[in-house]
Amino acid sequence: MVIKVRIPTPLRKLTSGSDEVTATGANVAEIIEDLERNYPGLKERICEEDGKLRRFVNIYLNDEDIRFKENMDTRLKENDELSIIPAIAGGAL
């Protein structure tokens, strides 16, 4: 399944500036592997070494956090969209 993935600003240097890319996979883990094939380095930015999502990065399936679904095993269907949303801290700066 080809899924649209929204890339946050801090990761866009890995996607040649693209804010939206497509990736193929039946679940979130497969999408991340496919993203890593096309955009090397992306996986380590969002996942720990054991493959779990880093604790300051969330992935949303449509508007729902995958941690409250099946996490990396969350299955995808036609027209689903993933968004990677990392914590950002700037305010006073």
């Binding site: 946050p8 600003t9 801090p10 804010d19 930015r45 880093r54 604790r55 300051f56 969330n58 949303y60 508007d63 729902e64 956090d65 941690r67 409250f68 968004s83 949303i85 990392p86 914590a87 950002i88 801290a89 700037g90 305010g91 006073a92 700066l93």
Partner: protein
């Protein structure tokens, strides 16, 4: 509460709104709102809170106004360079609306003083510039049962949410359990930020704070608003209360305030002249 003639005129565009009215305006004038950071987000938030007639505005910031701040920190001006930001902000607010009592704190909030500081307020806005402070403020607001209007920005992206675990809603740690390790996510000046983005996000925080004071509409509790200035898109995603949250979950492991070590920010001015 009786308004004087000047107040009736000053707040007339609020008072004629059925959702606000005289009663709502009186609530605003009696309300106490705390703003952490008188910088990029704090500047627009403070201006609109003051203009709205929030009766008491507390603020904390340890920095002084720097020329490089003025690209976005609109509560300050060129004459105030070198002046503590909280004093500069107080002066601007005094000229904007004499109804507002300003309580400035020039210094950093720490695990020693943050709880007693926020205890005095109805609503807290976080416009800080680093993760350790964000987590500290989240935890303090949890223990003091205060609603926390959180705003943050990075380059062209902004995020806004309202954390209110005392009302059964998630806290910041439900969204992001731990701060990132140093160096993984840029949170210092080196990343840059679109000045006007601070206006968008800071004003959204003011809107949410005013709604919370008035008790109207649907604040962003349980949601995260993500703004992309380049695409001009707002996306709202769900924030769930995490039953495993170390702070507000079913078996909390965080039971007292604990500060994370602040990442060094090389471009931050080391001293405050005045």
């Amino acid at each position: 509460m009786d308004f004087n003639e000047e107040q009736i005129e000053r707040y007339s565009r609020h008072i004629i709104l059925p959702e606000v009215g005289g009663r709502g305006q009186a609530k605003l004038l009696k309300s106490r709102v705390f703003v952490l950071g008188a910088g990029g987000l704090g500047s627009p938030a403070l201006l609109y809170l003051a203009a709205a007639g929030v009766g008491t505005i507390g603020m904390a910031d340890g920095d002084c106004v720097d020329l490089s701040n003025l690209q976005r920190q609109v509560i300050h001006n060129t004459d105030r360079i070198g002046v503590p930001k909280v004093h500069s902000a107080k002066e601007t607010i005094g000229k904007l609306n004499p109804d507002v009592k300003v309580v400035p704190f020039h210094g950093r909030l720490t695990e020693e003083n943050i709880r007693e500081t926020v205890r005095e307020y109805d609503v807290v806005l976080d416009g800080s510039d680093n993760f350790p402070t964000r987590f500290l403020m989240n935890d303090a607001c949890f223990f003091e049962e205060k609603p926390l209007v959180s705003g943050s920005m990075f380059r062209f992206d902004g995020q806004v949410s309202v954390f209110h675990p005392a009302k059964g809603f998630p806290c910041y740690r439900c969204l992001y359990p731990e701060p990132p390790p140093k160096g993984l996510v840029p949170s210092c000046q080196e990343a840059g930020v679109l000045g006007a983005l601070a206006g968008v996000i800071g004003v959204l925080q003011a809107v949410e704070a005013i709604k919370l004071v008035l008790g109207i509409g649907d604040p962003l509790e349980g949601h995260l608003m993500v703004f992309d200035a380049l695409k001009m898109t707002f996306r709202k995603v769900r924030v769930r209360k995490d039953p495993e949250c170390a702070l507000c979950g079913e078996s909390p492991t965080i039971t007292t305030l604990k500060a994370y070590k602040e990442e060094a920010c090389e471009l931050r001015p080391a001293t405050c002249e005045k």
